[in-house]
């Protein structure tokens, strides 16, 4: 009896060991190393980093730096992304769980952007925004097509959010479809018998039962949008005039382009804390409101 338990324990350890090892080497050790570098002034090239205590953090928090602007941009991006992705994905998921011809084809169409690489999506949309829209303007003459969608700082924000949502939508649709299909039919039938209409059935029965899907989708969209990087790099490279730097892109710029590895590390540590707090709060809030049958 005892040896079986011991064997099971050994198995658990052995099976998780490769994962633990990889995560340690790839995540935890670099994390603690950047913790150290954040306390130094280092350009990433010199042989010895110079210890400078909390100077980097002081420089960031004393304000006026581009970093805070980038964080604020990311917050706005996140709000736009989380709200619109979830509303659109839920609406489309409801539509795609109806019974009509070609429903599977549509599901496939919405999912395709998600399996494409972000960089490719970025370049495709860059092409559409510049060449495609110009062609449409020639055809229709509508001023809408002639706006500088990537060239004006205000519009570039909306373009980036739009492309981000367009790309990720398929994934969240799938999660919501799974959630919708898990809503038990007998409960819905009972509601119908009790005289609930379509709307009432959706808002009073389906929606509350989608709680776990909401938590998952909102949590995923939140973390993904706080980490946004590649789509912006491919679309605008942070431009025009630095208007679309996300926090991660700004950290990359400081650490690698500007040769301030110490400062970049400090920024990433601060950002890590920020993301940790925000995601935990949101996760708590949403899981506490889930209902069980």
């Amino acid at each position: 009896m005892r040896s079986v338990k011991w064997k099971e324990g050994l198995e658990t350890v052995l099976f998780t060991l490769p994962a633990i090892l990889l995560v340690t080497v790839m995540m935890y050790i670099p994390f603690f190393m950047s913790g150290y570098y954040s306390l130094t002034e280092w350009n990433g090239i010199a042989k010895e980093p110079v210890f400078n205590g909390l100077d980097n953090f002081r420089a960031i928090l004393s304000g006026g730096s581009e970093y805070m602007g980038a964080v604020w941009f990311t917050v706005k991006y996140t709000i736009g992304f989380v709200v619109f992705t979830n509303i659109a994905a839920l609406a489309l998921a409801v539509a795609l769980t109806q019974k009509f011809r070609f429903v599977n084809v549509f599901r496939g169409i919405f999912f395709i952007p998600y399996i494409m690489s972000m960089t490719i999506v970025g370049f495709i949309w860059k092409f559409i925004f510049t060449q495609g829209f110009a062609k449409l303007y020639d055809l229709t003459g509508w001023a809408f097509w002639n706006e500088s969608w990537l060239g004006s700082p205000k519009l570039a924000f909306y373009s980036v959010v739009f492309v981000g949502i367009w790309q990720a939508l398929g994934f969240y649709i799938v999660l919501y479809i799974a959630g919708l299909q898990a809503v038990p039919a007998d409960v819905l039938e009972a509601a119908t018998v009790d005289g609930a209409g379509r709307c009432q059935r959706f808002f009073k029965v389906t929606l509350p039962l989608l709680g776990p899907s909401f938590t998952t989708c909102i949590f995923m969209s939140l973390t993904n949008s706080l980490k946004v990087f590649d789509i912006i790099l491919a679309l605008t490279k942070g431009g025009p005039g630095g208007a679309t730097y996300s926090a991660t892109l700004q950290i990359y710029k400081d650490a690698f382009t500007n040769n301030r590895y110490g400062l970049g590390s400090a920024e990433s540590i601060l950002y890590f804390v920020f993301v940790l707090v925000v995601t935990q709060l949101v996760l708590k809030l949403f899981s506490s409101r889930e209902v069980d049958l």
Binding site: I45, T130, G241, T257
Partner: protein
């Protein structure tokens, strides 16, 4: 050997093959990358896999990599390297040394379409601000777009700005390196230099007024296409390297090459020559001597010397009489001989600053910052980014 500039991969492959015949026992592992070279180089330096030969930009970055680089002042190649290239390989900190070599020299200036100029009645390349305004009006009256600008690329700005910086320094009785240094210390004010405060901003304004519909969406490829297809008369921020691209689009294009109109003095309208890239030799390399033998052979042997023109097709970074088949290079050489050439001032700054500067001017073009706010930001950020190191 780990360097950037993948466009010369084939040519360098040939160079290495030729060296095999000279030194059959030496094996050279050549590696190059298109993207993100500096980041990959940093990873290699920090993991202890230091390449025997590596690259950076010239000028200011020489100091950044100095503790890794071998000083080649006393090597044979120091005799053949072109003086304007060697100038950029000195350590700016102590004003001496030869910490790198280059694959190519380069020419920077304004490109114009000779046919459009002729058709619009502009007889010569504009050399003063007044001539430029006049040319713009005439070209636009003839139904052409005077400018295509590539303003969505940050480096376009540094290539243009350096011409104005050189003129500003010359008219203030100093040199560009000292002027850059006083900006880095936060002492210089943009508004004290009319070449920058008036003329450079005037050029940007003209380029926006007479240029692309969506300037901040226009990148290098749009700029090249508009110029090669005969839609735009002048392009900004480019140089010898775009000629092959342009001729690939339109083999009959008549390219004119000139400096920028930087002031009211036509003599100051100069092209810029020099090398913006530096190839270093790792000073603690286990195979230092063979590595030095190779770069010396590259710069001093007959094959090596003819390689630059015959195989790579670049502006030779060495003193040589070899003729080039590229018109920009030939015109650049003529102009440099006739009027002199200005300093490659963008390399006195790091690309970190140059990129930030590009973004500041983009914000100016987008209208999010006015001229004085842009100047204030330039003064503040120049000091913050380049002043510290």
């Amino acid at each position: 050997m780990f360097i950037s500039s993948p466009e010369y991969a084939d040519a360098i492959g040939e160079l290495i093959d030729a060296y095999k015949e000279v030194a059959p026992n030496v094996t050279i592992n050549y590696e190059t990358t298109q993207n993100d070279y500096p980041t990959m180089l940093k990873a290699k330096l920090n993991s202890g896999e230091v390449p025997d030969i590596f690259a950076s930009t010239s000028g200011k970055e020489i100091d950044v990599y100095k503790e890794w680089s071998y000083d080649m002042t006393n090597e044979p190649l120091a005799q053949t390297i072109d003086p304007s290239v060697a100038e950029m390989m000195k350590s700016p900190e102590d004003g001496s040394g030869l910490y790198g070599i280059a694959i190519k020299g380069n020419f920077f200036g304004m490109l114009y379409n000779k046919e459009i100029f002729e058709e619009s009645g502009v007889t010569k390349a504009p050399e003063t601000m007044a001539e430029l305004e006049d040319a713009c009006a005439k070209i636009s009256a003839a139904g052409y777009k005077p400018f295509s600008t590539g303003f969505s690329e940050w480096w376009v700005f540094k290539h243009v700005f350096q011409h104005y910086l050189d003129a500003a320094a010359a008219n203030a009785g100093t040199d560009a390196a000292s002027l850059v240094a006083s900006f880095e210390k936060g002492e210089a004010k943009v508004s004290d230099y009319p070449e920058l405060y008036d003329n450079f901003f005037r050029l940007i304004d003209l380029a926006v007024q007479y240029g692309d519909d969506k300037p901040l969406e226009t990148g290098l490829e749009n700029e090249e296409a508009a110029f090669a297809n005969g839609e735009a008369a002048m392009i900004l921020g480019q140089g010898a390297w775009v000629e092959a691209d342009l001729l690939a689009i339109n083999p009959d294009l008549q390219i004119g090459f000139s400096g920028y109109p930087v002031s009211d003095d036509a003599a100051q309208c100069q092209v810029i020559s020099g090398s913006d890239q530096a190839i270093h030799v790792y000073k603690d390399s286990a195979v230092l001597q063979p590595t030095l033998d190779f770069v010396n052979w590259w710069y001093t042997s007959d094959y090596g010397k003819s390689w630059f023109v015959d195989v790579a097709g670049v502006v030779p970074p060495i003193t040589t009489d070899a003729e080039s088949e590229f018109t920009i290079i030939n015109q650049g050489k003529e102009l440099a001989a006739e009027k002199g050439s200005a300093a490659l001032a963008c390399c006195y700054s790091t690309d970190s600053w140059n990129q930030t500067m590009g973004e500041l001017f983009q914000a100016y073009i987008a209208g999010t910052a006015d001229k004085d706010a842009t100047c204030a930001a330039i003064e503040e950020q120049w000091q913050a980014i380049d002043g510290a190191n």
